[in-house]
Amino acid sequence: MATEAKNMAQGEKMNGANRPPLPIYLDYQATTPTDPRVVQAMLPWFTEKFGNPHSRNHAYGWEAEEAVEKARAQIGAIIGADEKEIVFTSGATESNNLALQGVARFYKDRKNHLITAVTEHKCVLDTMRHLEQEGFNVTYLPVAKDGLIDLAELKAAITDKTVLVSIMAANNEIGVIQPLAEIGAICRERGVFFHTDAAQAVGKIPLDVKSMKIDLMSISGHKIYGPKGIGALYVGRKPRVRLQALIHGGGQERGMRSGTLPTPLCVGLGEACAIAQREMGAEAERLKRLRDRFYAQIKKRLPEVYLNGDLERRLPGNLNLSFAYVEGEGLMMGIKDLCVSSGSACTSASLEPSYVLRALGVEEEMAHTSLRIGFGRFTTEQEVDYAVEHIVSSVNRLRAMSPLWEMAQEGIDLKSIQWAGH
């Protein structure tokens, strides 16, 4: 209780002159605010420049087409791809759906097997399940406690019927980065396409589709300070990847994705990539410093806090922590000045514990105590320090009213109790 009082006092001090503007956004893996520079680049395309980029016979259309092509080149540049290999989509969900369904269906006469990992984003897993219903076979690779797949298991899973391996670059909940170059090498050697959902990774860590031997890559606009409603799919040309379109019509995007391109959104995604490419090195360093500062203070001041996923092979701006004996949602309500998430944004409305954490072998009771904390481009040191104070005092308060914490302090093994459940 003495430490709690001290913590509270420090919290009070923080509430004085040093307090950052509230609420504090620490949910950069759910979405990122659009960078004002990106907004500036987009705005002219909302107003005076409204041509349809496919109207090739008048100046309104040419100007829009030129802007879209510039954006395509900017997107290609950040992942080492040629602009001709970039297909615009409405977002990473569509990119993932298109890559998986498109490749599977195109090659279905010869091959019928796909490989993915159990920690993939829900849209990959849902699409895979749908493909299973269509008659494809899917192998779901497990991950180790650190969140990484086992390359030997991947090798063993590939058969001569395997058409595609889909392994995400960085996980949306735990930020863990998979060994892309190694996976790419294995896939290329075995003649299997390698797709990676890089929605969380593009612009955060260096990616190069050529040296990593990536054949398809999903990119999201709103995860890299670009607008929502736009994404891209990189579709390699060497070796050439073919796919069946999901959305048919005017034949835009070389027939892979029909629909009028939204010029402002394309421009926004291009600009977001250009900014991220320029600033990635320094920004990654800064975020890692902020994250490490946060984590070090939390560990020092709170017992029984556990990190989920490997710390080193991880996005610089991500932490996923279990605050034992304190339920995550209850904690979120206590730290309402901080925008964080328990589980991923898409599932937090449902009350199931995160399947990603469960896949790491995190016990269900521990998964319920987890928060994802995401730092990003607009996070300041002052915000980090305030967040630490706020979390420490809330965790202490909730532990003081947690029956589990009380039992643990009394030395009762929680596993020895016959819980009723309900």
Binding site: D27, T31, N52, N57, T89, L265, A345
Partner: protein, 375 residues
Amino acid sequence: MTGPTAQPIYLDHNASAPMPPAVVAAMAEAVAEPGNPSSVHGFGRAARQRIDGARRAVARLVGAAEQEIVFTSGGTEANNLALGGVGAERILVSAIEHDSVLRAAPQAERIPVTADGVVDLDALDAMLARGGGALVSIMLANNETGVIQPVAEAAAVAHRHGAMIHCDAIQAAGRMAVDVGALGADLLSLSGHKLGGPTGVGALVVRSGIALAPMLRGGGQERWRRAGTENIAGIVGFGAAAQAAGEASGDTEMLGAWRDDIERRIRDIAPDVPIYGSEVPRLANTSCLGMPGVKGETQVMAFDLAGIAVSAGSACSSGKVTPSAVLSAMGAAPDAAGEAIRVSLGRGNRAEDVDRFVAVWRDVYQRARRLRQAA
């Protein structure tokens, strides 16, 4: 002839239209929205509220309930979702549908149209009489000719045969009153940028009771009917445009008067030119004009040099201009079908634009005639 230095005139509103200032303002504000609508914290809830507001506006524009609106990345996706999502055994589409309908269901049977470009309801009746859980897809207004289709009558025919009906109202919404209930459509597609909103957003109206399988799988957005983080700025812009379209229905009369003026004056110059669909109800802003002996593409370039944007064929063919499939379906000979341009008026046009357009048209027409006579 008016020189290219004059203020450019945009007469291609059916391809894409400039957004009214209120729409731009709403989007500029929403594009900075930091939250993900699926997040439970305050930022997420604020984003969710913006989307709910837009959903109400779009629903109101077409007389639908809010929960019947599924936001998509545009009209093309909405059409693909409709045709692929209901699991129909047979799909019947009119021969003048947009490519996003025709190519979404390449196996679909084609319902013929009359020489005026109107769907042949007797043919539809006969086709449906052959039975089998069918989906009928008929557009409300054609993008090239503006001809309005008898969707309500087609819906009655379809329902009598136990079939469902999808209506592509992409060109119609904002240019005429659209009421999904009065049309009797089970599914209805909308596009943001065709009604004064942004590109990259559209909607499929799915009447309650109609089961729809998603095309994009993942999160539970749009009541599990369309996964993917919502395009907030786009949806907000779409909502603002839907609201503005509902309020600006008076424009239609003015645009219709200008369009009729153009056609009357062109007929004065050349009584023999075809004006497609002029004998039947059309969108007030659209005119599809033939110019015998001059390829549509050549006309478009000549107009562009004179600072006037019009189009030939449909802009969606990624620059490839082919003889119009719509005009061919109406019985136009291949030559004639390749010699038409589409003029589509919109907000921002002025009465003087009519004079300039007619002047340039006369110029192009007379030059072509002189060349032909010389040859």
